[in-house]
Structure formats: structure tokens, C-alpha cells
């Protein structure tokens, strides 16, 4: 895929025009979008173990906010350094934490290359992609509300396990969180 180098320059309109026609980019984005959709589906279906397996062992999973990113604050809402911490979050949710039962419904947008992606798009070395999302929270009593909007800032990589997230930063649009976050996004 090295031969695509230089044709993936997304800076400026010409770059984008070339991008749309680049079958490698299309292929990569389609694959990344599939992973993003699978991850959203796994959370919504409460298949959390499946979800955790979509991350590399050395993954970094964070939930932060638009404000926090703008200010350059290091501490966000959740910070899992490695798949073990992701599994611990799920274990805690199932067996340790006290909260009222609820589930999510994700709506995700098309997946796009992260702005400023200039180098060759290569899943073996990792591709940074962005996907917008809305999450509706459905409480046990049926009460539904828009819970979060934002975007996934993902680094997707091809590994022995198939396609996985090496990094996922969930960037929430709002710094206000209703009640609590225990189910990851």
C-alpha cells in the first residue's frame, strides 16, 4: 500500500478529490466503519466481552470532553490504559457498582479520516478515523433521553485478531453528564 503515498494528501480540495477516488482509502474507511459499527452494536446489545475484544491489549481508551481537549486537560472522565482496565470496567459495572439499570442505543455517522491525515493510509500501521455519534439512554422504566453526542477519535489497526482499536478517544460535546457514566460508549 506504500504506492498510495502522496495520493492521500487530504489538505485542500485537490487532496480530497483524489481521496474520493482512492480505492485504498475507500477500502480502509469501509473496514474501519465496520469496526465502529460492530463496537456500537456490541455495547447496545450488552455484549460487553465482545466489545472489549475489539481492542488491542495495549489499547488506550479514554472518555473526555470537547472543553477538556480545548484546554489541554489531561484528566477526562475515563482512562483505561490497556485492555485489562477495559475488562475491569466491565467487571465493575457487572459486579461492583451501584446504579439504575439502563442501556444505550448508538447512532453513528459515516466514518472519515481524521482531519490532517497526510501519510499513507495503512491498516498495518494504524489509521486514525473519526465517527460522530449520538447515544440515547433507555432507563429500566422505559424513560428515554439523548444522553451524549460527540465523536469517536479512533486509531484502527489490523492485527492477528482482525481489525481492532488501538486507541479510542470518546470526545463528548458537552461537559455536563446526566447522573453517571458506567456503560462505556
Amino acid at each position: 500500500m506504500n504506492d498510495t503515498s502522496g495520493r492521500n494528501d487530504t489538505s485542500g480540495l485537490n487532496g480530497n478529490r483524489r481521496l474520493f477516488l482512492d480505492t485504498t482509502v475507500q477500502h480502509v474507511l469501509a473496514a474501519a466503519a465496520l469496526l465502529v459499527a460492530e463496537a456500537a452494536g456490541a455495547i447496545d446489545d450488552e455484549r460487553f466481552d465482545d466489545w472489549a475484544q475489539m481492542f488491542t491489549d495495549d489499547c488506550l481508551y479514554r472518555i473526555t470532553t470537547r472543553e477538556s481537549r480545548a484546554k489541554g486537560w489531561p484528566i477526562g472522565l475515563m482512562h483505561c490504559d490497556g485492555a485489562g482496565m477495559l475488562r475491569d470496567r466491565i467487571l465493575s459495572m457487572r459486579h461492583a457498582n451501584i446504579f439504575e439499570a439502563h442501556h444505550y442505543r448508538h447512532m453513528v455517522s459515516a466514518t472519515r479520516l481524521a482531519p490532517g491525515t497526510k501519510r499513507a493510509v495503512d491498516l498495518n500501521s494504524g489509521v486514525q478515523v473519526h465517527t460522530n455519534f449520538e447515544v440515547i439512554r433507555i432507563m429500566g422504566n422505559g424513560e428515554m433521553a439523548l444522553f451524549a453526542t460527540g465523536f469517536f477519535d479512533d486509531v484502527v489497526v489490523s492485527s492477528d485478531q482482525g481489525l481492532q482499536f488501538r486507541k479510542r478517544t470518546v470526545v463528548l460535546d458537552s461537559s455536563r453528564v446526566d447522573t453517571l457514566i458506567v456503560v462505556p460508549f
Partner: protein
């Protein structure tokens, strides 16, 4: 039903008599003593005769009480946290917030002094600063272009002399009488407080020696902000404050505290309550306890059940302060919390929204002098706190779970007798002395 009625403020009772069904006669448990017959809408609000060991459910639900709090508490003889001084380091830097329901703005003047104003143009009441933070050379109102300097004085009025002799302000208009409403300001550590009261003593004196000791302890070195977010909760603000002051729950509700030995009731520690009751400290020292012979050891507590983490790095900590205290929760009356949970340091401000909602603003802090390793530890321990915190998320919902059961039975009351009936400081944290202390000062300030 019952409205607040005191000689001090009759208008409160008149303006917001809540509409609700007549109360049912209490069948069992605690009841709120009343002067008049049950259901008499003119009956005054009376605290239960048992005193501070009973908390009448009405205090969480009555709009008249919420209104009285706005007038007598948040605009009363207390200090309100507005922001941290490190948020506004340069002249002209401002930070908006609210005191109760009132929008305010803290701004650093060209002389370096921090001033706090009601965030409202003296002309028609338009808000002057709309953003959370920014920098201003002056306050120019977007509505009619009235301009105030950073000390709040009215500098200019658009078309003050009218146009060609027509319109404009009358000659007797005195700009000196139309400045911004300026509040008293005092700081301790990085905390910027403001007050509507002319009579409240300076912050350090108001806190008292022991309470100021912990503020000085936390702010002994220059701090930097490491994070921030807001948690919206569906309960009366006082239910959250009670939760923070309730040292008894921390070692029971929060499995992470008990199971991993971060904070257990069996550790060395204390609940300390200020003289007036409203401020408190609850602290403990990790590794100081022997749980054997306590209920922690007999396997019946949910929070001690078998549970383990695959990756324990977030439980790693260093002894932050020479006193060896690893867990310190402080409340500053009525709605400020200073937190040391291991190496997770934070300031929280609780803002009421009506009777049944509140928001908790969080400032996560560290020190300018932090090493990279210390920063990494604070980052991982950040997983314990905030709306997604493995500990704090549970506090986000518990108030709402209580609120919903108190809506109708306003003549019933919660029972707070752990650690006795008084508000004195005690070594044991199986105690609700901090909760009783809060109500002692609340009642004194509200006159209820």
C-alpha cells in the same frame, strides 16, 4: 400544604405556597411536629421535636424552602465559591458562574485584584459575559452598549446625549449610581469566594482554624487544573451534601473503597464538625486498620464481596502529605467540597436547580511541581471520581433514589442517629455527626 412562615420573611410564605395534596396522617416512624392541624395550609414549617437526628422530607421538596435558601442562604451571611484563582491569571481574565440562581462573574483587574460582580447590566439586566471564561478590557453590554470598567463603574452610555438634542438620558442621571453590583471577595488558597453579605467575617475566620488548616494543606503549593466536568443530579442539592458529609456510607456503598482498603470505617480517622456545624472534615489513614472482629470480616457486607481487578495500577498511590492522611473529604458550608482521595485531588461546587435537581461542578487539580510519575498516578486515580468514577458515580444516583421516596410524605423524616444526637467531632466515622452539623447551621441561617 405547609408553607414556610417566619416573622423574618413573610413574603416567602406568600409568594410560594406549594400546592400539594393534604398529607396523610403519619402511621409509623418519625413525623414532623406541627403547630397547626395536619393539612392546614397556614401551619408553619416546624422542625421535628427530636431535633437534628430527624430530617423532615419536606426540606427536599418544598419550593418555599428552596426560595428561602436563595434569599437567606446564598445571599446570606456565607461565602460562596466562584472559581479558582488559577483560572484567571491575567488582568482582564474572567470566569462566570452562579451563586445560587444568580449569575456572577469573577474578573482580575488591571491591578491584579479579583473582583466579583453580579453578571448583569445595570440598565436592563442583560447578562454581560456569556462565555464560561475569557478576557475583557471592559464590560460592554451587547444589548445597548453600556460600558463598565473592570471595577464595575459605568464608563459610558451609548447616545447618552441623544441625537441632535433629541432623546438621551436626563441631565440628572448619575452614572456613579448605576455601576455593577459588586460582591465582597475573599480568597484562601486558590479558592475565590464572594458574598452578598456585608456582615460575614473574612473567609479564614469564617472557616475556623481547623477547617482553614485543611484548605492550607491542600493549597500549600501552586496548583494547576488537570480536568473539569459537571455532573447533573436529579435530587435536591441537600441530599448530595448530606451524602458527602455522611462518613458512614462511604465504607458501605462504595465497594472500591472497602474491598481495596482505600477507605474503611475501621481505619484510623475522624469526623470533625465545625463550631456552627456547617463545615466538616472526614479523614482516614490507609493501612491503619484491622478489620477482624468488625462487620467487614464476617462476609455479610455487599461492598466486601469477592471482587478483584485484573489491572490494579489505579489503586497505586503515594503518601501525598506528611500527616499520612490518605483520604480527606472536607465540606465548606453550604455547598463546597474539597477532596483528597489518595492522590486524586478535587474541588467540587454544588449548585441547586429548583427543589429536585442540582449540578456538581468539578475541578480536578494537581500541583505545578508534580513529577511525570505523580501526574500519571493522578490520571489513573481519576477513574475513581467524577460522573464516570468507580466511586463517585454511585453518589450521582443515590440522592435521586432517596428523592423519589420523599415527594409526598413531607410529614415524615429521615433518621440520623449514628454517632448519637449531637454535632461534636468524633474519632469514629460510623457517625452522622457531619449531617446533623449541616442542619444545625442551615436551620440557624434559614431561621427554620
Amino acid at each position: 400544604m405547609t408553607a414556610i412562615s417566619t416573622a423574618a420573611d413573610q413574603s416567602v410564605a406568600q409568594s410560594a405556597a406549594p400546592l400539594s395534596a393534604p398529607p396523610v396522617a403519619p402511621s409509623a416512624g418519625a413525623s414532623v411536629a406541627r403547630a397547626g392541624p395536619s393539612g392546614d395550609s397556614t401551619a408553619p414549617f416546624l422542625w421535628p421535636e427530636e431535633g437534628l437526628s430527624r430530617i423532615p422530607f419536606q426540606v427536599y421538596n418544598d419550593p418555599a424552602i428552596a426560595d428561602a435558601e436563595q434569599k437567606r442562604l446564598f445571599r446570606g451571611p456565607i461565602w460562596n465559591l466562584v472559581c479558582l484563582d488559577v483560572e484567571i491569571p491575567q488582568p482582564g481574565d474572567y470566569r462566570t458562574n452562579v451563586i445560587g440562581d444568580t449569575p456572577v462573574v469573577a474578573i482580575r483587574g488591571t491591578d491584579g485584584t479579583i473582583r466579583v460582580f453580579v453578571n448583569r447590566c445595570a440598565h436592563r439586566g442583560s447578562m454581560l459575559c456569556l462565555d464560561k471564561s475569557g478576557n475583557r478590557k471592559d464590560f460592554t453590554c451587547i444589548y445597548h452598549n453600556w460600558v463598565y470598567d473592570l471595577e464595575g463603574a459605568l464608563q459610558s452610555v451609548a447616545f447618552r446625549r441623544g441625537i441632535r438634542g433629541q432623546g438621551g438620558l436626563p441631565d440628572d442621571f448619575d452614572p456613579a449610581k448605576h455601576g455593577l453590583t459588586r460582591l465582597r471577595v475573599d480568597t484562601i488558597g486558590a479558592l475565590v469566594f464572594a458574598s452578598f453579605s456585608e456582615s460575614v467575617v473574612p473567609v479564614r475566620e469564617w472557616l475556623g482554624e481547623r477547617m482553614a488548616w485543611n484548605v492550607d494543606r491542600i493549597f500549600a503549593k501552586p496548583v494547576r487544573i488537570l480536568g473539569g466536568y459537571t455532573q447533573v443530579m436529579h435530587n435536591n442539592w441537600k441530599l448530595y451534601i448530606e451524602n458527602v458529609k455522611d462518613a458512614y456510607h462511604a465504607g458501605l456503598l462504595h465497594l472500591f473503597f472497602t474491598r481495596f482498603g482505600l477507605n474503611r470505617l475501621s481505619m484510623d480517622g475522624a469526623v470533625e464538625v465545625s463550631e456552627r456545624g456547617g463545615h466538616h472534615l472526614s479523614w482516614s489513614k490507609m493501612h491503619s486498620d484491622d478489620a477482624s472482629g468488625t462487620e467487614y470480616a464476617d462476609g455479610k457486607l455487599r461492598s466486601m464481596k469477592d471482587f478483584d481487578l485484573e489491572d490494579k495500577r489505579m489503586l497505586r498511590s503515594w503518601v501525598e502529605y506528611p500527616d499520612g492522611i490518605t483520604h480527606m473529604i472536607q465540606t465548606i458550608f453550604p455547598n463546597v467540597i474539597i477532596q483528597q482521595i489518595q492522590n486524586s485531588l478535587a474541588v467540587r461546587l454544588l449548585v441547586p436547580h429548583g427543589t429536585d435537581q442540582c449540578e456538581l461542578q468539578w475541578w480536578l487539580i494537581g500541583y505545578e511541581s508534580d513529577t511525570e510519575a505523580q501526574m500519571a498516578t493522578r490520571l489513573l486515580q481519576g477513574n475513581l471520581v467524577g460522573p464516570a468514577g468507580l466511586v463517585s458515580l454511585e453518589d450521582g444516583v443515590i440522592g435521586s433514589i432517596v428523592q423519589r421516596t420523599t415527594l409526598q410524605d413531607k410529614d415524615r423524616a429521615g433518621v440520623v442517629e449514628m454517632g448519637g444526637h449531637g454535632t461534636e467531632s468524633q474519632k469514629g466515622r460510623v457517625s452522622e455527626a457531619g449531617v446533623r452539623g449541616f442542619w444545625k447551621e442551615w436551620r440557624q441561617v434559614l431561621g427554620l
